[in-house]
Amino acid sequence: MSVAGEIVQVSGLRKRYRAEGPEAVAGIDFTVREGEIFGLLGPNGAGKTTTIGVMTTRVKPTGGTVLVDGHDVTREPVEVKRRIAVVPQLSNLDRSLSAIENLTFHAAYFGAGRRERRERALELLDRFGLRERAKDQVGRYSGGMAQRLMIARALMHQPRILFLDEPTTGLDPQSRLFLWETMLDLRTRGTTLVLTTHDMAEADRLCDRIAIVDHGSIIALDTPRGLRTLLPAARGLELLVEGAETAVAVDRTAELTDVFGGLPGVEKADVADAGDERWRIRLYGEGDDLPAAALAATGRAGLALIELRRLEGSLEEVFVHLTGRDMR
């Protein structure tokens, strides 16, 4: 059964590689919507590759079900394989073949005719800047080139869903940028993308929705923005104000804490002396009128506003907040 718009449905998925071993995936549920970029974000060993492996028929689940476009990955793997393409973390290019042959034979496996596969291969080699090296043996390719060739290969049979396992790990900044653009471009063309990463900036920039995975479980699933609000004090304002000289020596810090802490909607105010007659004020709380109220209060206190910004935790902070500081 497939719900309209949900192209991958994962329910109660479990995987244990060895009977007495630990669970690599310990019961996870999520759906991928058609046309989105879905990210699995998590530290090493979290179970990302295993989850991708099950979705792509390469790993047999020990519990739960995964449907891809309505087809069960264990009972109808061939139907699933027709719809997907995979770009693995490590190169698995065919080293006995040249670059272009890697593409044409792949398309042949998917039933493309001779002429069609050649035309498409040349077009993709062009698009990925590999046309000049089309006849090279892939053993001579650099890491970035191999990565691009694997994406070109994945696109040869025009999959509906493209899975990428840590696609940018170990790439130079140029290749990484190119890959980001490619992924966004693919989404525009209607391809659904599922990617894994442990890079927050990447997940933030690319993904429509992110599942944070740790120890085989999903501990949060939301849009990047939604995830940021998971930080306890993620919402609020930060002001930098400058005070005019006052004749009487008063404790401005305490005074400002009182003034701003008393504003409607503010749960807590932190005031720090920034030196040079300036104070940095953090207001934690919610409300659409908070900025206006804070601005008014600044005026009433005879202060000049230097800077006003919304407080938003970085995804990195969210990640560390949720998964802890232990190294894996």
């Binding site: 047999k60 698995n92 080293r95």
Partner: protein, 258 residues
């Protein structure tokens, strides 16, 4: 033509392309160098220095064809499989092709068997050149020969699949040494099984080697000499075929889907 058949043929065409266009010399050296030396030393040198009878060559030729067939098929599945599963991961792209996974294993065996049949067939002209008496093709039962070659090579390819998928990659060279040498020397290769009458215990031992039935099958179809009963040959190859295909495909599935 159904889609999966088309995928199967495309997988075959990739392997044939690589054999013919990329490594024809490598294939021939790997398949024929060892049999060539066996033929030369046992079939030519030993009779010339008086250490064997001149007619020994007639008995040797079917054995060497069998050896070439079995070893080529076995090595052409076992070695690439270990490399592709563990080191280059090349096989992943084929496992993701829209075809049921066991067919990817079956396809590997088919191509290995085909290579083995070509290599074994080349032994005939080589034998004609090397052996002192040449070769005599008057009594050859071509149909039987073809059947032995087809089922013998498919069985050996399945043995390779078992080795390549069940044995740990780090131990594959030890396993090769452990398995290949006994396989070669207990397979009725350098002697007709019949002649072991006086060494009864060894004769019994050889019956556990699938290659014995292939060698005797070759002997039966190529010469008029005494050989293991045809019924036993069919039974031996048949049992080994079923056993190793079942084991091989099971091992392949286990390796292919974690």
């Amino acid at each position: 033509m159904t889609a999966q058949v088309r995928t199967f043929l495309a997988l075959c065409s990739r392997d044939l392309w690589v054999t013919v266009r990329r490594e024809p010399a490598g294939f021939l050296i790997q398949a024929l160098l060892q049999p060539l030396f066996f033929l030369f030393v046992f079939g030519r040198v030993l009779p010339d220095i008086g250490a064997a009878q001149g007619s020994y060559g007639t008995q040797l030729l079917p054995g060497i064809m069998s050896l070439t067939l079995v070893l080529t098929a076995l090595q052409n599945t076992a070695l690439p499989l270990v490399i592709e599963f563990s080191f280059t991961r090349e096989i992943e792209d084929r496992l993701l092709a829209p075809i049921a996974v066991p067919w990817v294993g079956a396809q590997k065996m088919l191509i290995a068997a085909l290579r083995a049949i070509v290599a074994a067939a080349l032994i005939l002209p080589l034998g004609a050149l090397i052996l002192p008496g040449g070769i005599d093709l008057h009594h050859v039962a071509w149909g039987a020969l073809l059947l032995v070659a087809v089922f013998g090579s498919l069985t050996a390819a399945a043995m390779g699949l078992v080795l390549g998928t069940v044995v740990q990659p780090a131990r594959i060279s030890i396993m090769f040494a452990l398995i290949l040498t006994p396989l070669i020397f207990t397979g009725a290769t350098f002697y007709p099984w019949h002649a072991l009458e006086r060494l009864r215990w060894f004769q019994v031992v050889t019956l556990f080697n699938p290659m014995t039935y292939v060698s005797e099958g070759m002997r039966a179809s190529l010469t008029t000499a005494a050989h293991l009963g045809s019924g036993w040959i069919v039974l031996g190859i048949g049992v080994a075929f079923v056993l190793f295909w079942a084991l091989g495909l099971w091992g392949f599935m286990r390796r292919a889907v974690a």
